[in-house]
């Protein structure tokens, strides 16, 4: 294809996106579009499955049968999200095994929030409330993103995430209506999860490298800072209802802006965790790689068995 022809295709492509048409896997797309989508969708998929680990940590110790069942269901949903997102990614011509390799080798990133430990039961409430809450704010705009399979996956994922968010909030509410010890557990969880949740919405706009292109492709509709503000404005009143204190002495309602002003985020901590030196980066990777390696003989067996069955079918037919 000549350079001119490519330019022409690109112009048609961008015009389709501008008209809000969906791009489907079979459609022509610029290489950069494909790569960017593989990166973002796989990163999202990895976050879903790494996210199973901190929450899975409390399945065996959930405090009641009802909570145990709800947590099992939640973690199962996250696995399902991982599954649709990997499938959406596969439509762009990359296999799930390749994507796992990228995760296991440390080449691919996942949401840094999952590198924090879940040390009490209240952390399960805080994750649902804050982490699923922040995820929804990030993801609702993606329900209208330009790449069809991703947009459709997001519609389903968002529905489930908002259920998780309500469930997490309900855990917090129960704790806050409980004993002093329970309330202290809830406050402690908010203290530890608040700032990492704000960081989850991404680096501040000045530092964010991908924003402009992503806006054009509707991979992003608002900037990280706008999303963060939205999250804070939505979450602070919820903390008030719980009777919990948001751990930010600079947090203050700004009448003029109609928004909360908030304190400075410790971006050094953010970059430390992103670069692999958070409290649980090593543990999360060891868990994923360990599960994968321990499972090799199982996956090999499934493949060998399927091949044998296939051979039997063929020899029967002939």
């Amino acid at each position: 294809m000549s350079e001119k022809e490519v330019k022409n295709l690109e112009a048609i492509f961008e015009a389709r996106i501008a008209r809000d048409e969906k791009i489907e896997p079979k459609d022509w797309m610029p290489e950069k579009y494909r790569k960017t989508h593989i990166r973002q969708i796989s990163q999202h998929a990895h976050s879903e499955i790494v996210g199973m680990l901190p929450e899975g940590n409390w399945i065996s110790r959930a405090p009641s049968l009802r909570r145990k069942a709800a947590l099992l269901a939640k973690v199962q949903d996250e696995a399902g999200h991982g599954l649709y997102l990997y499938s959406a990614c596969e439509t762009l011509g990359v296999s799930r095994d390749e994507l796992y390799d990228q995760l296991h080798s440390g080449k691919a990133k996942y949401s840094s929030i999952f590198n924090y430990p879940t040390v009490t039961w209240a952390d399960i409430g805080a994750i649902g409330w804050l982490v699923d809450g922040a995820a929804i704010i990030n993801q609702v705009p993606l329900c209208n993103t330009s790449f069809g399979p991703y947009a459709r996956a997001m519609v389903r994922v968002c529905k489930e995430e908002s259920f998780h968010q309500r469930q997490g909030y309900e855990i917090m509410l129960t704790l806050c209506n409980g004993t002093e010890e329970q309330k202290a557990m809830a406050q402690d969880a908010l203290n530890r999860w608040w700032w990492p949740s704000l960081m989850m919405l991404g680096p501040t706009d000045a530092e964010s490298i991908h924003t402009e292109q992503s806006m054009k492709w509707k991979l992003k509709r608002k900037t990280n800072d706008e999303l963060r503000q939205q999250f804070i404005d939505q979450t602070v009143p919820q903390a008030d209802i719980l009777g919990l204190t948001v751990p930010d002495p600079d947090l203050k309602w700004n009448e003029e802006r109609g928004s909360y002003d908030f304190g400075e985020i410790d971006w050094d901590e953010f970059w430390q965790v992103v670069k692999g030196h958070g409290p649980c980066n090593k543990e999360r990777m060891n868990a994923r790689v360990g599960a994968w390696e321990r499972g090799t003989w199982v996956r090999d067996a499934a493949m060998a068995y399927a091949e044998k069955q296939e051979e039997k079918k063929v020899s029967k037919a002939s």
Binding site: I49, M52, L53, G56, I59, S60, R61, A62, P63, S64, L65, R66, R67, K68, A69, L72, A73, V75, Q76, A79, G80, G82, L83, Y86, W121, I171, T174, N177, G178, T179, E181, Q182, A287, G290, A291, W292, R294, G295, T296, W297, V298, R299, D300, A301, A302, M303, A304, Y305, A306, K308
Partner: protein, 251 residues
Amino acid sequence: MANQNLYNYILGIADNSLVLGQRLGELCGHGPSLETDIAGTNISLDLIGQTRSYFQYAAKVSGKELTEDDIAFLRLERDYRNVLLVEQPNTHFGYVIARQYLFDVFHLLFLNELQYSKDETLSAIAKKGIKEVSYHKRFSGDWIKRLGDGTEESHEKMQEAVDDLWRYTDELFEMSEDDQQMVSEGIGVDLPKLKESYYDEVSELLSEATLEIPERKYFSYGGKNGVHTEHMGYLLADLQYMQRTYPNMQW
């Protein structure tokens, strides 16, 4: 208690679901593939759901102010009545599958009978469980075949797990005093009657999976009388952690 036999009987059934559900829950996120993680979690979820129905009923039968959680979390180890099979650890995926299949075949035969119980609540729980457990058995049976007739390595590992867990199978058919009493009242299931079908079905599938049927004359018992293997204490330490550390609270 008005009906101690019935209460004990319900716990005997429910503890199997509870303990197996707990074991499967430990694996979530650590399995060999996303698909097996989803299936394992799903089975765990079914089992915990069944447990809740049984314990809610047991709480009613007790005539005391008990909740499902009191029964699930606040007993001493000696008072859990699950069979030894279900408390065995997740040594490797072959063990997970062997434990599951050896229990699922029994579980389905059992529920198929329990649905005709004179006790309407137990009958209703059984009917609902049949659908779920049929799926569990299909999942575990398919994996027995894949692993048994997969690679040389998987064949060896699957055989190892079946050989090791086989000694816990006979306990499934052991009759406690409560079992006897409930059978005589038309409520409970006569377990020895299921034994032949059980071993026939299991043997057939193992053969199909190219696995040897263990020849074993000696079996282990004790779970139904509350004498468990050394694994049980650790399982309960996890299970009971919150309720023991923070007694008398709402969650």
